[in-house]
Structure formats: structure tokens, C-alpha cells
Amino acid sequence: MSQLLVSGILLGGLYAMISIGLNLIFGVLRIVNFAHGEFIMVSMYLAYWTYFYYKIDPYISAFVIAPLTFLLFMTVFRPFVVKLADSSHLGQVFITFGIGIVLQNLALMLFSADYRSVDTAYSRMRIALGEVQFSLARLVVFLLSLVFTAALYYYLKKSYMGKTIRATMQNRTVAMLMGIDTRKVYVFTFALGAAITAFAGGLLLPIFYVYPTIGFNFALIAFIVVILGGLGSIPGTLAGGFVIGLTEALSGYFISASMKQLVYFCIFILILVLRPAGLFGQRGTEELGVK
């Protein structure tokens, strides 16, 4: 039982990690990014190939890939982000979905459908605490998800840029009237979200195989976690991750492994219907920028 709880919580940390970036893009900016899973997939491949060719540890390459992603989105992809922010929700859903299809199949073309994984010194290492066992790689992701949550929470609360991001989220027009360059905020936040997602991808590599279609499930889970936790709420994402992680571990054990997805999709619909603001979201905020 304690084993179940521990693995559920660790899994929750992992889910929170892959959802933080989406919370910035979808929760804060309200850009429905269906290519989120493919962002993770691409960064996993990047980390994989740097490991394969240069023997650079994924934990180290993540620190290179993430800033690089940030810079790319701030510069080369900037017009694209602006265009995306100006589209309707429907347009966003299908533009990002199209991008997801393109990325997924580019990966299929270039790397084939093979399952690939790295074999680092620690990827099989397990830690035992009494009768509870867990893998080191999952613990690292869990701890980093706590660090990221805390850092991002304080960044959004205290820093000037964080305040402008929150102001833009609450009311774009008024934020603009207060002299905030909302377009810049959009591009910056999107790039930040993409960079955190890329970082998460690197962290996942020692745990999961990477293959072209791995992103879809991650994206679905990330959407569930973000909405469950509350749009725009960073601690909410962590809590949402824990709820989904524990649900998956417990229902996998008590019901059946194939039903765990069913359980969290049901939770998802229930949350949407009963409390669309999510667990930690401010009531009413979910309708900002919608319709």
C-alpha cells in the first residue's frame, strides 16, 4: 500500500512536470496547444541523439535544450506565435494539431517507429526505503517538479514580468492600456512554456522509451492535469498531477491497468462540469478569453 502511494506521488510529480509548460501556454495564455505532446516528443529525441552521438547525459543536455528552445521561440518562431495568439480557439486547436501531425510524422520519417531508450548509469538504479522501492530517475523528476513549481510560482507572483503576465491574463485590454506590451508577453510566456516542456522531455528520457507517437498520451494527461488543477494556477498543476498520479496508481491496482485511463477521463469530465475553474483556480477565471 505504501508502495502504491509512493509510486503514485512520484508519478504525480512527473505528470506535474510535463504539465507546467502547458499551464503557461493554455492556462495563462489560453492558447489551446495540441502540439504539446509533440514538443515533449521532439525534446526527448533531441536528448536521445545528443546522448547517442556525444554521450552527453540527458540531465545535462536538458539544460542546453531548454534555453535553446526558449531562444528559438523568441526569435525564429515569433511570428508564428503571434499568428497563433490572434487565431480563434478553433483555429488554434487545428493549427497546433496540424503542427503535431507534422512533427510526429517527421520523427517517423527521420527516426523510424523504433522504440529507443538511453541506458545511463542511474536509469536502472533503484532506491529502497524499508519495503518501499522506487527508481532514482523518477525521484529526480519529482524533486525537480517541486523546484519548478516553487520557482515559477514566485516568479509569476513577485517579478515584474510575472506581474505583467498575470495582468495580461486577467484582462488583455486593460493590461494594454497600462502600457504593457501584451504581444511581447504572449511570445515570452509561450517561449517559457515551450522551454519548460523541452526540459521535462529531457528528464523523461531515462524513464520512458521514445517513439514518434509518444506525445499524444502525455498531451492528454497534461490537459487533464492543467484543468483539474486550475487554469493558470501553478500550485494547482502540482496538485492536479498528484491527483492523477495517485488515481492512476490506485485504480491500476484495485480495478485494472487498462481501466486507469477510463477513471481519469471520468474525473476530467466531472471536474469540467462541476467545477470548471479546477481545484485551485479562481472561480470565473476559466471563462476569461473564451467566447
Partner: protein
């Protein structure tokens, strides 16, 4: 807002040609590949048009329609396999079943707005897919079901593609007819009024929930009938072919490419995207796996970014009554402050 358009416009000469041409070509050209493309094209054009009844006219952007498609396919097939009920009757049963589920789903999810509605329909479709895999006593799980090849009209299986072409064409024309009805009837006007402004529609005394439920039932029922047709044409169904999210996306994509919220748009979208996809797949599918979907995805992104009104907006410069794909001007885009919503 859409102006009232007469039936003369909906069945003008260009449209008649557009609607009749693919079936005519498929009947004239005795090439199996061409005929297969034509059948799939008319099938998906019809499915997109059925989706468009709810997604386009009411602006309720479901990405869970594959659930109705699969429910139609499974209902008729299971009735046929287990109780030898003719798929024609099974098709009606599937349509009623899907309409009922559509109404139940709608009454739960219609309060949700924008992307939240879309996500909830996606989750619903995934739930149905998982159930169809795990309830293997009923559905044979991911193994799928093979429908025996025994030609006969009552069995909805034919030994020549000609009847399939005709039936697919009749389906397409039928769904187009329903779309024309939507575009010119009170129900359709109510839906469009809701799409443009929920508050204004309610202020005018429209029961926005009831009209959307009607649209959901019709849209789901028609989609389910096409699911039955698909099952009877391919003669094999499994969760990965009829419940997969790609089907929902296909329906939305065709509507978007052609022109969402218009009568002819989804059909034109099908005419362009389905042959494109099939040709790319048959040309590059084996040599370079994935390449055809890269091109397909790129076309999708480019059309959505640079031609948000769809192909129809090119053909007809006048406002076509479609959904506005661009956000309203930023400067006038006043959102309520937190807590007021």
C-alpha cells in the same frame, strides 16, 4: 448574420454539378482505385457535413464525433453478427442509439464553453474507445470484428462497387439536404443566433439548450449511419479504426478547409483533402513512411493560417455565414474582469 437564401441558391447549377460529379465519374471510370477514393471521399464529405450541423451551425466544436461513428458501426455489426439483424435495420438502431447518447452527452457538456467543450467531447470519445477495447465479451476488444462476405441487398454487402458508390452518394446528398434545411429553417436560425451571441439569442426567447440538443441528436444520428456504411464497406471494424480520434479530426478538418458553417463547405473540403490524403499515401506511403502525413499536416496548417474562411470564402466573396475564425479586433476585445464572468 446569414441572410435567408432561397433553395435556388442551394441547388444552383454549379452546386448540382459539384454534388453529382464524383458519383458520375466513379460510375464511368471502372478503376478500383478511383472508385475507392470516390467512395471514401463521399463518405467523409457526408461525415464532415454531419459534424458541421452541430459544429458549424451551432458553433459547438465537438472533437468526439468518432464516438458516434463507432457506435453506429458497432451497433449494426453486433446486431448482425449476434442476432442476424439486417444492417439496414441495425443502421437505424445505431442512429437512434447515437442520437440518444448525443443528447445525454450534450445535456452534460453544453454548459461548457469554447475549448472546454471540445476537450470534454474528446475525453468522452476516449472513454468510449477504452470501453470498446476492455469490454471484449461484447466487442471482441482490439481484435476487431470481421463481417462475413455474403453479398446481398438485405445484408448490405455487395460484390460490385457500384451499389456502394450509389449509397455513399445518396448519403452525401441526404446530409447536404439536412444542411440546407438547417440553413433555411427556424431551427438553423436559432442555432446560428446562438453561435453568434448566446446572450442575444436567449434574450430573444430562444431555448438555446433545446435547439442544440436537437442539432446534437441529428448530427450524432447521421454520423452513426455513416459508421454503419463504413463497416459494411470495409467489412472489418476494430476500436482503432472506428473510435480513433483521427476520425473526429478528419470531420472537423474537412469542414474547416471547405468552409465551416456553410452547406457546401464540408463537402468541398472532402473533395480536396480525401483524394489528397489517399494519393499521397499511395505514392509515398511505403517508400517514406510518414511523408504523406507531413504534407497533409502542412496543408492543414497553411490553409487554416492563411485562408481561415475555407475554400468557400474564395469562391464567394460575399459573407458566407461561416464562423469567424479570426478573433475580433484586439482593441475592442473587452473581456470581463475576474469574478464578473
Amino acid at each position: 448574420m446569414t441572410k435567408h437564401r432561397s433553395l435556388k441558391h442551394e441547388f444552383g447549377p454549379i452546386r448540382i454539378v459539384l454534388l453529382v460529379l464524383p458519383a458520375l465519374l466513379a460510375l464511368v471510370i471502372p478503376n478500383a482505385f478511383v472508385r475507392d477514393i470516390a467512395i471514401l471521399m463521399m463518405l467523409w464529405s457526408a461525415a464532415a457535413s454531419a459534424w458541421n450541423l452541430l459544429g458549424g451551425f451551432a458553433g459547438q466544436l465537438s472533437i468526439g464525433h468518432t464516438a458516434f461513428f463507432g457506435i453506429g458501426a458497432y451497433t449494426s455489426t453486433l446486431l448482425y453478427i449476434n442476432f442476424s439483424v439486417s444492417p439496414w435495420i441495425g443502421m437505424i438502431a445505431g442512429a437512434l442509439m447515437a442520437a440518444l447518447i448525443g443528447v445525454i452527452l450534450g445535456s452534460i457538456t453544453f454548459p461548457l464553453k469554447g475549448p472546454f467543450f471540445s476537450l470534454s467531447t474528446l475525453a468522452f470519445a476516449e472513454i468510449v474507445r477504452i470501453i470498446s477495447i476492455s469490454w471484449s465479451d461484447l466487442t471482441r476488444g482490439s481484435q476487431g470484428i470481421v463481417i462475413k462476405y455474403t453479398p446481398g441487398f438485405g445484408k448490405f454487402v455487395f460484390d460490385s462497387p457500384v451499389p456502394y458508390i450509389l449509397i455513399a452518394w445518396l448519403f452525401m446528398i441526404g446530409v447536404y439536404g439536412v444542411a440546407v434545411y438547417f440553413n433555411n429553417s427556424r431551427l438553423g436560425f436559432y442555432l446560428m443566433a446562438y453561435r453568434e451571441s448566446e446572450d442575444a439569442a436567449r434574450a430573444l426567447g430562444i431555448n438555446t439548450v433545446t435547439v442544440r440538443l436537437k442539432a446534437a441528436a441529428i448530427s450524432a444520428g447521421l454520423t452513426a449511419m455513416l459508421g454503419t456504411f463504413y463497416a459494411q464497406y470495409i467489412l472489418f471494424i476494430d476500436p482503432e479504426s472506428v473510435f480513433i480520434v483521427d476520425n473526429s479530426l478528419q470531420m472537423v478538418l474537412l469542414s474547416l478547409v471547405g468552409g465551416i458553417g456553410t452547406t457546401i463547405g464540408p463537402i468541398i473540403g472532402g473533395y480536396i483533402m480525401v483524394p489528397l490524403g489517399q494519393l499521397l499515401r499511395s505514392t509515398f506511403g511505403d517508400a517514406v513512411p510518414g511523408f504523406h502525413l507531413v504534407v497533409y499536416g502542412l496543408c492543414m496548417v497553411l490553409i487554416l493560417m492563411y485562408l481561415p474562411g475555407g475554400i468557400v470564402s474564395l469562391l464567394n466573396r460575399r459573407p458566407f455565414g461561416g464562423i469567424r475564425l479570426k478573433r475580433p479586433d484586439r482593441r475592442r476585445d473587452g473581456h470581463g474582469s475576474v469574478g464578473n464572468a
